[in-house]
Symmetry: none
Subunit: 152 residues, 2 copies
DNA sequence: CTAGGTGCAAAGGGTTTGCTACAAC
DNA sequence: GTTGTAGCAAACCCTTTGCACCTAG
């Protein structure tokens, strides 16, 4: 069970029904950890409740997002959803070779966000930030050339 | 006239035919000033050549991208293409409010990539990097609270 | 000439919508 | 009981693909 008890309250307070489907989506996205696609949420829920429909997943995710409980980002791999956790910052580096996720200090993004803010007055959304690349293990494993991958 | 004469050479050198459709797509994307969706490219070309088909647009854009003449980024509003102009490399900031795309100097990501490399030996892939957030216009338009969006 | 490229139509993948039965309150 | 929801199917983008004809080299 994740820390989404607060979410249930929000649902009730805003006059929405507490349906099993909503609980299941909430659980799935809470346990899934990082960014999940709708299809992945569906798969997780269906392990417990096989009748779950993809349209319900989208509707629930949309509702949760309207309530500020979930956000989504657009990536080249498609739309990814995740739980909004108060205060918790999670910046990740995902290795494209081995798929592992590594933690990154918020310091780096603080610098980036601040620099961009000063220069462009653009308020970057760092809440859900994932850097892709190749981790040190995979780099040494095969000396991956990775066309222009270093600092552009 | 756009500076894509170089593109024509690249096409010939790589053994591709110089078709009117390719020239038109090249012109459209050069004159459009970048950040264009396939549909917009199609519209521009069709003003001159109404028979142009969307599938041709995609195929030409794909070819030009393979040749390194064009890049694309993924935004919440869809895929956006732009001409690669020598030297003028940059990254993008996409406003979640108005959907516009803004250019960002590579300098900021260079710093981030380098810092991450030094600290973690993680080789970040900065190609097609897109920062999401709220642009200055939308910030001043309505004083958007943007849940914890500032510099973390 | 002859491969490569185009237009058209149709298929795909992801997301949304209309509808009726159903379940939360 | 009411009304909001879920499931299903079909519609809807956007993008890709198959195929016969056409055209640049």
């Amino acid at each position: 069970m994740g820390g989404h008890g607060h979410a249930l309250e929000t649902l009730k307070e805003t006059g929405h029904r507490l349906t099993p489907q909503r609980l299941l989506v909430l659980e799935a996205i809470a346990e899934g950890g990082g960014h999940m696609g709708a299809e992945e949420v569906l798969a997780r829920v269906q392990k417990v409740y096989p009748y779950m429909d993809i349209s319900t997943v989208y509707r629930v995710l949309g509702l949760l997002e309207d309530l500020g409980l979930v956000t989504h980002i657009t990536t080249p791999e498609g739309t990814r959803y995740e739980l909004v956790r108060g205060g918790e910052r999670h910046h990740h580096m995902v290795c494209r070779a081995c798929g592992r996720t590594w933690d990154m200090s918020t310091r780096f993004l603080a610098d980036l966000g601040e620099a961009v803010w000063k220069e462009y007055r653009f308020r970057a959304d760092m809440a859900h930030f994932t850097l892709q690349g190749i981790c040190k293990d995979c780099l040494s494993a095969d000396n991956n050339p990775m066309s222009g991958g270093e600092t552009p």
